[in-house]
């Protein structure tokens, strides 16, 4: 029983980190720019396929991760500066543009890869197999995802709390007009945050391929996951998104191990419960 519980927790932590990688960017973009980026899940999916292609071509797992993160950062910056910037303030236009980008990426991937899922096993040998401390069986790749997620969370936390740009991001989440009135170049910050958020989604997608699979359906599924987690954590709150991801991932895996038929809807049950009892989210939400 304890070994099963421990396995569920490790699986849950790994899933939490994938959730975190997509939801943190979604939350930062929403918090700072007030944009619900419907294309965010598609960037997660596209990151998975970029990684799949690069690993298939070069055989380098880490090059696949880096390429996914970097390419999604560039695509995110282009979406923000090329398509969205001139429409800030026009919420309907922003929704239509991000839905359009989602549609284009989704159907482009469908044409290229079809509906079937793809996966690869070209991950470094030390990330394959399992560790067996005592009665526990720990999947090396899941441990890798946990470490990667924690490193990314730490890096983003330091960026937000120890740099001037991070200070502007947090101030902008509170009151973007006041930040502007004090001399903050929020245009540049918007683009940077969009790029970082998209890179995190791409990295999450790339990291998922070695564990789950790359599939066109990933985009829409993970968009819903990201949305639910941001609501659970508190809109615009980075810490809240981290806690929300942990809660969502661990809850999902505990259900998957012990009450499997509830695993699928567990995230949305959790979201409904949070909305009922703590509508501002776990961390209170920087932007109510």
């Amino acid at each position: 029983m304890i070994a099963t519980l421990a396995s569920a927790l490790i699986d849950g932590l790994a899933l939490s980190m994938l959730y975190f990688m997509i939801a943190s960017g979604f939350s930062l973009i929403f918090g700072l720019e007030g944009i619900v980026n419907f294309a965010h899940g598609s960037l997660f999916m596209l990151g998975a396929f970029v990684s799949y292609e690069v690993v298939s071509y070069t055989g380098s797992f880490y090059l696949g991760l880096a390429a996914a993160g970097l390419s999604m950062a560039i695509i995110g910056a282009l979406i923000e500066s090329g398509l969205l910037r001139k429409k800030f303030g026009n919420e309907m236009a922003i929704i239509m543009i991000t839905l359009g980008v989602m549609y284009v990426i989704h159907h482009g991937a469908l044409i290229r890869y079809g509906a079937a899922s793809s996966t690869y096993r070209k991950i470094p040998s030390y990330l394959q197999g399992t560790l067996k401390p005592g009665q526990l069986i720990l999947n090396n790749y899941q441990l890798f995802i946990i470490v990667l997620g924690l490193i990314i969370a730490g890096a983003v936390f330091l960026f937000l709390n120890r740099t001037n740009v991070g200070l502007i991001v947090r101030a902008g989440i509170d009151d973007v007009d006041m930040a502007r009135a004090l001399g903050a170049n929020t245009r540049r910050t918007f683009t940077l945050v969009f790029a970082i958020g998209s890179a995190l989604a791409g990295l999450g997608g790339a990291a998922s391929v070695g564990w789950i699979y790359a599939s066109v359906d990933l985009g829409l599924s993970y968009l819903f996951f990201a949305f639910a987690i941001v609501v659970i954590g508190g809109l615009g709150s980075f810490k809240g998104t981290f806690y929300g991801s942990l809660l969502a991932g661990i809850t999902h895996e505990l259900f998957a191990y012990f009450i499997p038929f509830l695993a699928g809807p567990s995230l949305f049950i959790l979201m409904a419960a949070i909305l009922l009892f703590k509508p501002e989210g776990l961390a209170g939400g920087a932007k109510q």
């Binding site: 200070l167 930040a179 009135a181």
Partner: protein, 241 residues
């Protein structure tokens, strides 16, 4: 001395509301001009039009002889204009120190909050606390300190700094204005005529989105009918009721 700020026939609409309908006045360099008027006269919008937050659709705003029209707010601020809004608008999820740092974004060199801490010692005591943990009055003082912390600014736009403050905190605002008046020009939206009389050299009265009266502050003190007509303060013989 020449004007550091010039507004000429400024018109601003916010959504469908025609808020400013031809505002014109100047702030002479090194002086404090009090912007007066009843609620809804357009005082806050005037400040926001200068900062580019509510850009004018007609008219001219010049700072040190350079037009600010069409320039984004962050660049206007970087030209040397500080802003303390009436509703404080501190960053509630940032610490007190981080709020002050936001006032020094475009200030080269080390960030020094000593002057702000000397004026408002409670800020140093709470420097690691989140802005939202401060009381309403303390938040208002933090907003004023944030606008004043950059000693290189040439112009401060200060909106109703004593509104809703206790007598003790109002006195702190007076002390702060006394200090900052020596180093920057100030456009002060004054909710309290006493404040204007204490610090201003000149006044401008807005009514229905346009400037109606302006001149030397002594003129306003000598002629209570002006205040009676536009401010409804009941000023008689230099006293307010």
């Amino acid at each position: 001395m020449g004007a550091i700020l010039d507004l000429t026939d400024v018109h601003v609409k916010i959504e469908q509301a025609y808020v400013l309908q031809g505002v014109s006045f100047s702030v002479p360099e090194g002086e404090l001009v009090a912007l007066l008027g009843r609620n809804g006269a357009g005082k806050t919008t005037t400040l926001e039009s200068i900062l580019g937050l509510c850009p004018p659709f007609e008219g001219e705003v010049e700072f040190k002889g350079e037009s600010l029209i069409g320039i984004p707010p962050f660049k206007i601020a970087q030209k040397g204009i500080g802003y303390s809004p009436d509703s404080a608008r501190i960053f509630s999820e940032l610490t007190v120190t981080e709020n002050l740092k936001m006032g020094l974004l475009h200030h080269d060199g080390p960030k020094n909050f000593k002057a702000a801490y000397e004026l408002f010692p409670f800020l140093e005591e709470h420097k690691e606390n989140l802005g939202k943990s401060l009381s309403g009055g303390e938040q208002k003082l933090l907003a004023l300190a944030r606008a004043m912390v950059d000693e290189t600014l040439d112009l401060l736009l200060i909106d109703e700094p004593t509104e809703g403050l206790s007598p003790e905190n109002t006195q702190k605002v007076y002390t702060a204005l006394e200090e900052v008046k020596d180093r920057a020009s100030i456009l002060l939206v004054a909710d309290d005529l006493e404040l204007a009389k204490e610090f201003a050299e000149e006044y401008v009265i807005l009514s229905s989105g346009a400037d109606q009266e302006s001149g030397d502050i002594d003129e306003l003190i000598r002629n209570p009918d002006i205040a009676e007509k536009y401010l409804s303060t009941g000023v008689r013989n230099g006293e307010t009721k």
